[in-house]
C-alpha cells in the first residue's frame, strides 16, 4: 500500500498494518527532518509532490519490491507540507518471513523512492531564507 498524506505518520499503526502471522520480521525505515546540511542549520522542510505521478511511481516501486523479495505486506507513506526538525517525512514498513529479506527489501524500497518519486523538499534555513533542494542542478 502506498500513501501521500499531510497528517502525522502513525508509526504504530503502520507496524500493525504489515504484521502477519507468517512473517517473523517487520522492518521500518523512517526518514526524519535533519537539523544540519552542508554547514547550515535547518529549522524546517517543506515537501511538495506531483501527486498523481508520485503515487504511480510509489505503486511501481511496491510492485518491484514484491517481485524481488517474499514480502508479507508493505506500506510506503510520504508526508507533504511543512515539517519541523525531528518530524517523520517518510516511512517504509515491510514484513517478510525472515529479517534479512525484510532489511534488504526496505533499503531497496526507500532508495528507489528517493531516486524516482517526484517529491521535492525546500530547506527553511535558520537565517530565514529558503532553498529548493535539487542537487543535480548545482552540479556544473
Amino acid at each position: 500500500m502506498i500513501q501521500l498524506t499531510r497528517e502525522v505518520i502513525d508509526i504504530a499503526r503502520l507496524t500493525d498494518c504489515v504484521r502477519r502471522s507468517d512473517c517473523g520480521a517487520v522492518v521500518i525505515f523512517l526518514g526524519t527532518v535533519r537539523d544540519f546540511t552542508d554547514g547550515k542549520i535547518t529549522v524546517a522542510l517543506d515537501y511538495d509532490a506531483y501527486p498523481a505521478m508520485a503515487e504511480k511511481k510509489m505503486a511501481e516501486i511496491e510492485q518491484e519490491t514484491r517481485r524481488l523479495w517474499p514480502i508479507g505486506d508493505m506500506i510506503m507513506v510520504h508526508r507533504l507540507g511543512h515539517l519541523e526538525v525531528g518530524k517523520t517525512s517518510v516511512a517504509v514498513a515491510i514484513s517478510c518471513p525472515h529479517r534479512g529479506q525484510a532489511f534488504e527489501a526496505c533499503q531497496y524500497a526507500i532508495d528507489r523512492l528517493k531516486e524516482l518519486v517526484p517529491i521535492w523538499k525546500k530547506e527553511n534555513w535558520a537565517d530565514g531564507t529558503t532553498e529548493w533542494v535539487h542537487p543535480e542542478l548545482e552540479k556544473k
Binding site: 505521478m53 521535492w120 535539487h134 542537487p135
Partner: protein
C-alpha cells in the same frame, strides 16, 4: 491544440506560477515544447534542460508528439539524498 503545464519546486518559483495553459501546434513534440517554454519563461532557461517533462503522468522521449489536451509536468531533479 491546448496543453496544460504544471511547474514544481524551483521551476514553479522561477516561472512565477503553478499552472499555465498554452495553445500549441498539433503534433508539437516534447523537445519543441521545451524550447517554447524557454522563450515564454526566460527565467527557466537555466534549469529547463535538466528538468524532466512528464506527459499525462508518464515519461516519454523528447521526440514524441504531445497529444491534445495533454497534462505536462516540469519536474526538476529530486533531492535523492545521501544513502
Amino acid at each position: 491544440m491546448k496543453v496544460t503545464v504544471h511547474f514544481f519546486a524551483r521551476a514553479r518559483d522561477l516561472a512565477g506560477r503553478e499552472t499555465v495553459s498554452y495553445e500549441v501546434a498539433s503534433n508539437t513534440t516534447v523537445q519543441e515544447l521545451r524550447r517554447q517554454l524557454e522563450i515564454l519563461h526566460p527565467a527557466l532557461a537555466g534549469i529547463l534542460p535538466r528538468c524532466a517533462l512528464a506527459v499525462n503522468n508518464g515519461f516519454v522521449k523528447d521526440a514524441a508528439s504531445i497529444p491534445p489536451d495533454a497534462e505536462i509536468a516540469v519536474l526538476p531533479p529530486v533531492s535523492g539524498g545521501v544513502r
